[in-house]
Symmetry: C2
Subunit: 446 residues, 2 copies
């Protein structure tokens, strides 16, 4: 019953594979250094030893933490899988496929995978794993990549017809990008170098073969790329209809490591609203912040707002928050009046400077909006949707280069999702964020 | 993020606690040395370093094995909990409480327990844990036990009214017996010595206080004692009606470490059956076993039998099996005829020599029966239940000291459970066995 194999090390590999997926699928930013996060009922802590542009991060021991943040256990893979599963189920609506009685869970996958020595619920092809394991230095990696682009990618791109997302997954994110990540984590290459080479080669392909341009351009110019999710997503299932363990991954958008970055986004414009609405940036004055800070604090502590915003902070914290927003470029906090009475709080933001930038292929001019109707008697009767419509129209008027106004209400907040829909926003999918799954609501310039 | 605490050691402690429970709740015999078992989809292997009369066994590293029996991973606690949960759910009927959508699972418990540093889903009271941890030698253990019997057990026993099972759990199995187990595993005492002392003291209590006699006699004379199950059992739940994580244990019978053993059980009698039935022990003759062996082999390989018996072996293996049974004291293999035609295979056994002896408070004269109607055209139309009734009556006639004939059909085998019921056996509960949960069916002498 003894073994020369490093079983605890393999357990860490398995747990790391799950943590990587969870961070990617919830669009959680990862930087080198200590990382804390909460997944379902579990508080976890680890040290990010290697932060990867493709998401192939390397972690120190992953611990379960107690309430005071002290490690109490090594987070074993099955526990992590169970916590991710519980969290993903809670993020989705009760009637989502992932919550159906026979959907199975990643723990089912793990019980089958372990005896088969499988490590990752989203494994690469054996061929690519063999490459990632055998390549031993940067030159060899470059040669492999050149041969792959020439011999595999180019023919596939030239023969490509149809679905951009499917081609992206098959040819890019689950192909060379994943291999580059593995080589980077192994310390064989600097991922950035290899990504720059790939970018150059793809640029050459697009130039030499105009027929490939739309797909390759998408890969180079889009801020996100389609990848597969195996832990979070309403439509995930881990069992087939016959009950067999079989992960059915779903698509999601992850930051594009080939993207060279967008043009600088301008500041947030202040829209002029029609139809009896007024809008002004919050004013912060005096030592206590003044009346606007007091108003926002009161609204944020009202139960109907607090339950969705989770920002029922003391007034001093709101003072600091609002002053911070006004002093930065990310977002502008505003107070909205209806027929002369202050009724709602808005935050207007440039998507490019927001966590949402990691979640869909945004344009640098895209604007986003958060809304809280502060006065309870102004809720319902179409007030919210009328305001959202006025804000969307006002923002598109105020920035002629802006083509989209977006929002990301929690999928559980049916009233909010409904109000955005009634205001003319369309639901373009579900996105994982740290702490919740949101409906991505988009108002397109007509 | 580092810690002086032995986190991998704690993980082993947690996994061991779960394995101990699973072995007890499935009545799996445990001896020192290598142990292999299958729990749900997982094959597990470990070394039993300490085999305990109270079930407080000590294990080496618990491994997940691949198909060839090689260790591929350390069985982490969450994986073990998930495997036990999957197995327990599969053992129970689909409409059992444990299979309800909101029943939760031991993994839910573990996710809550880990950050709280809880190790065992069936933890002892803090006071008893403190005793088990602080007692440092056998003399001190004896003194503690004497004081416990005098100061706690005796008053409780004298004040006892009513439910034997509840009193047994509260006062004995989840009390001093569990403490003795912990001390034994710690190497502080020989459990056998302390159990002998407890037996002596309890004998004294029964003598001095006739009012306590029925309860204390039960503790001393019963082959099994009631304990609590937290991993296997149709009625288990891990969530309250409000969704809160909360294990609701169920009762089961475990071997009584205070029991001094039953009187020697006599051999198995051969009953004479009425009503057109005949019964004869299997005859094994010649180099290939002869016609009876061939007949049993044919029946066991018929699909309707194989699916329940799982003994569709080659004829040579049946030859060996039947010769073995005929040469031993445990059971007698028989062939039953109806109106002159061989139709069924029976095994008659003394419970005391069977695995069933560990599962309920048996009497040395209890007899058990396994049945397979071999001829498909003899199934249905009440043939099985008529035969079972004839066998039960015949066995009670053949051994005047026998008060009960029992059987243990798989709870999923509704036809068999129904036939026993129709024959006059009553269902006295569900018992966990290695590989299945069975309905314990009892035919009492009228």
């Amino acid at each position: 019953m003894t073994s020369g194999v490093d079983l605890p090390g393999q357990s860490h590999q398995r747990a790391s594979a799950l943590l990587r997926r969870w961070l990617a699928e919830t669009h959680t930013p990862v930087v080198e250094g200590p990382l804390r996060l909460t997944v379902g009922a579990l508080r976890l802590g680890t040290e990010v030893g290697y932060s990867s542009p493709t998401g192939a991060h390397g972690f120190g021991t992953i611990h379960v933490l107690d309430d005071s943040g002290e490690p109490v256990a090594v987070a074993d893979p099955a526990l992590l899988a169970a916590a991710c599963s519980a969290d993903a189920r809670a993020r989705a609506l009760p009637d989502a496929p992932i919550n159906s009685a026979d959907a199975g869970s990643p723990v089912d996958w793990l019980m089958r995978a372990l005896p088969r020595r499988e490590f990752d619920p989203l494994a690469l092809s054996e061929e690519l794993v063999a490459v990632a394991r055998s390549v031993s230095d940067a030159d060899e990696a470059r040669r492999w990549l050149a041969a792959h682009v020439e011999g595999r990618l180019l023919p596939a791109v030239l023969g490509w017809e149809g679905d951009v997302a499917a081609a992206t997954v098959e040819l890019l994110t689950r192909g060379p990008l994943a291999v580059i990540g593995l080589l980077g984590r192994r310390g064989v290459v600097h991922e950035g170098d290899l990504l720059a080479e790939l970018r150059k080669w793809l640029g050459g392909v697009a130039e030499a073969h105009p027929g490939s341009a739309s797909l390759v351009e998408h890969w180079l110019a889009s801020s996100t790329l389609t990848d597969l999710a195996v832990l979070n997503g309403s439509d995930l299932r881990y069992r087939s209809n016959t009950g067999e363990v079989q992960i059915q991954p779903v698509r999601f958008e992850a930051p594009n490591p080939l993207w060279s970055g967008a043009a600088e986004a301008p500041g947030v414009p202040i829209p002029v609203l029609g139809g009896g609405w007024s809008l002004r940036p919050v004013e912060v004055v005096g030592s206590d912040g003044g009346p606007d800070v007091a108003l926002v604090h009161r609204w944020m502590n009202a139960e109907h707002v607090a339950v969705n915003w989770n920002q029922a902070w003391p007034v001093a914290q709101w003072h600091e928050e609002l002053a911070g927003q006004l002093g930065g470029q990310h977002s502008v906090p505003c107070i909205v009046g209806l027929d002369g009475r202050d009724v709602a709080y808005l935050e207007l933001y440039r998507v490019q400077r927001d966590k949402l930038a990691r979640c869909y292929s945004h344009d640098p001019h895209d604007l986003g909006v958060h809304i809280a109707i502060g006065e309870p008697d102004a809720i319902g009767r179409g007030v919210g949707s009328a305001l959202l419509r006025a804000v969307a129209d006002g923002l598109l008027d105020a920035d002629r280069d802006c083509r989209r106004v977006v929002a990301e209400p929690n999928v559980h907040n049916g009233a909010s999702v409904g109000a955005f829909g009634k205001a003319g926003f369309s639901r373009s999918g579900e996105i994982g964020l740290p702490g919740k799954n949101s409906a991505l609501m988009i108002f397109e310039r007509g």
